[in-house]
Amino acid sequence: MTMVTVLSRRLLLSAAVILALLVILPSALDPYQTILLSYGLIFAIAALGFNLLLGYTGLLSFGHSAYFGMGAYAVAFIVKYLKITSMEVFLIGGILASAAVAALFGFLCVRYTRIFFGILTLALSQVLWSLAFKFFWVTGGTDGLRVPTPSLLGMQMAPGQDKMTFLAHRYYYYVLIIFLAGLAVMWVIVHSPFGKALQAIRDNETRAEFVGVQVRKYRFVAFLISGAYTGLAGALWVPLNGLTTPEILHWTFSGKIVFFTVLGGFQTFVGPIIGAVVYNYLETYAVGHTVYWQLVLGIVLVVLVLALPAGIVGTAKRLGLRLRRAA
């Protein structure tokens, strides 16, 4: 019992420190670093959603670009056809659209597991990609669709205000708050009876069924939540990026989401968050500093799989445990 309280007190303390750091960062760092961190936090939301399927339900989706892209394109369509630029409308639209697609795809995919599940999610996401790519009179094709600076809680960016300052301050805090809310909700989900049932399904499908868990239904709900989270991330991402292109619907982007999660460690709750933030820095700096950026990312992936299969957080935890045992 004491062990648990010590752990949770330590956990709370470190969470408070990290939170304080995240809050004061924009005044300490240059705007670029803050914008980069916003990207990281947004990807972290997508990775959190993704990991509900991989880490907690044991389903490896290779098609999460579909929900991310759907969130982003929903925002772009809201701008294009409804001429609305309210961020709250963007978020609701993004979540609804991606949830709708997740419901449809999930209905088909949860009938399968393992490689069949992975391939099916991949194939379905590629359908969305080719729609965005080919229906250029609606989606802008490879040119994509532009999304202007949104209003936050009804407040427009002041005319003449620098867009970078806006992104590095107000938009960053907006992203941070949604990230924290998303984090809290996901924490509740995975620690609820529903979350425990998912883990039971992951560990032994047959036993779970025998104790009365409706496996397919639970998987479907997990799929839906996962898709909606990733869609939320897509909706938050698009004003930051300024436009959406079919690239984020392509399966290679799904691969990135898998990479985030594996990098951080999919067997832990915070792993995907760390993985997403770290990957974002890694990719940005690799692209910025060498034309061999693909090689750098490839080597990281190989080292990760061979030497650190538990990811950054998993390995750190293991090291921490070993140190404590030695002490």
Binding site: D30, F133, T142, I248, T284, V287, G288
Partner: protein
């Protein structure tokens, strides 16, 4: 246009010329951009290095067309630095980035270059998929930008209709399709059945649209018998080639570019495609010249993005070109393509604007002073005269295309300098003030103002 216009009369009215004749009258009139101003700069100039961000394709199939851009840029930067740098003081330092990282990563990288590396000028960019994404970001960042290529009309028609910080040096994309159509109408007016193979993105569609609108005016009665839309970056064209052949066309039109094109023509050779039909390309010889083998079919229209090929303007008629080609060859041991020329001219143009602005304001001029000098600037480069239109910040130079030929002078195939087709750019692109159109201003301008020849 009540009376019928004959094709010959209309082509004459477009001012189309073949060979080197057009340029002779003009040669030797102006001094080149490479000549440093003899005067001392006004005021005190800081000696802080001038950081430039340069982005083009360094990896993938597009690199064979895009990477020479970097070489052109570096050549110009080294020349300027040899004179002491910009205004004799500020040495140019270039940071490069790979455009192949994808549009979203490129947006991030441009922000990083400006906000983290503090670049003062951004240049480069090859793909038309990237300029409409990067243009608005450059404006948001208040970053002086000279795009070398990425020449889509969409950038000025839609993405940034009122540019302030961004400029673009190589010809507008619509010129590509129109130039190819004019070349075809002059050379093979008998063609009727036309097959198309274009990369499946904005550039390919733009090439298809403008070729079609112009050829319908110039050669009435043509029809499209086959369309192939391979994805950009494809290396297997077999299905598109066989589909085109089976439609038995008189002519194949293609805007496939870079390494994709090299793969395509090699595969087409295996099917004897070039013996079965005429061939017109917008950008076949846009790649680094040595990438085209002697096995390439001769006598086809092998476009160069309607910009520049290193054998033209011909030797000693336009000394600026001779000097440029020689310098480039000495530095890189290869010949330049249109991207090399564009990037080289962009840096010299910028230097010229800085020097002019300095004369007016003294000291290091601010961006607005430099922009005011770039707007409306006319000067001469290796390819000929260039004009920067003040309303849309787009560079205009006469459009060229030509015919492929093997000679003993080079161990790769070249464009025949004796048979170059030159079209005054004014006659094939929408004029200033023409309303923005769909799909482009030039498209509606051709549709509404060109006569259908009899």
């Amino acid at each position: 246009m009540a009376e019928d216009t004959s094709r010959r009369d209309f082509l004459k009215s477009l001012g189309v010329t073949v060979g080197g004749a057009a340029i002779t009258a003009a040669a030797g009139v102006v001094s080149g951009p490479a000549k440093a101003e003899a005067q001392q700069p006004k005021g005190t100039i800081p000696d802080k290095p001038f950081k430039v961000g340069h982005m083009t394709f360094f990896t993938g199939a597009a690199a064979v067309l895009g990477e020479p851009m970097y070489k052109g840029h570096i050549l110009a930067a080294e020349e300027i630095n040899a004179q002491g740098g910009l205004l004799g003081k500020r040495k140019i330092e270039t940071i490069k980035a790979d455009e192949a990282a994808g549009t979203d990563a490129n947006v991030k990288e441009m922000r990083r270059m400006k906000l983290s590396e503090n670049i003062e000028l951004f240049t480069g960019v090859t793909s038309s998929g990237n300029t409409p994404a990067l243009g608005p970001v450059a404006e948001e960042l208040k970053l002086m930008t000279i795009f070398v290529d990425g020449c889509t009309d969409f950038l000025w028609d839609k993405a940034v209709p009122n540019p302030h910080y961004i400029f673009r040096i190589t010809n507008m994309q619509s010129a590509d399709g129109v130039t190819a159509a004019v070349g075809t109408a002059m050379t093979w007016p008998q063609v009727r059945k036309i097959a198309h193979i274009h990369p499946d993105y904005s550039y390919g569609r733009n090439a298809f649209d403008h070729f079609t609108v112009a050829i319908n005016k110039l050669v009435p009665g043509t029809k499209v018998v086959s369309e192939g839309w391979p994805k950009l970056g494809t290396t297997d064209f077999t299905s598109h080639i066989t589909k085109a052949i089976s439609a038995k066309p008189d002519l194949l039109v293609s805007s496939v570019w870079g390494g994709d094109y090299v793969a395509m023509y090699k595969q087409a050779l295996r099917y004897d495609l070039f013996k079965k039909m005429k061939f017109t390309s917008m950008i076949a010889f846009g790649v680094a010249p040595h990438a085209i083998g002697k096995d390439h079919p001769q006598g086809v229209i092998a476009g160069i993005h309607s910009n520049y090929y290193f054998t033209y303007p011909t030797s000693n008629r336009w000394p600026l070109n001779d000097t440029f080609v020689k310098k480039y060859y000495d530095r890189w041991k290869e010949y330049p393509n249109f991207q090399s020329e564009g990037a080289y001219v962009a840096m010299h143009m910028f230097t010229m604007a800085v020097e002019r602005a300095n004369k007016l304001t003294g000291g290091w001029p601010d961006d607005d002073a430099i922009i005011s000098q770039l707007e409306g600037l006319s000067f001469s480069g290796p390819a000929g005269y260039i004009h920067i239109r003040p309303d849309n910040h787009q560079g205009y130079k006469d459009a060229v295309t030509g015919f492929s030929i093997n000679t003993s002078d080079y161990d790769f195939q070249i464009l025949d300098p004796k048979r170059m087709i030159t079209i005054p750019i004014r006659n094939i692109t929408a004029p200033p003030g023409w309303p923005k159109g769909e799909p482009t201003s030039t498209y509606t301008w051709i549709e509404k103002t060109w006569p259908k020849v009899a």
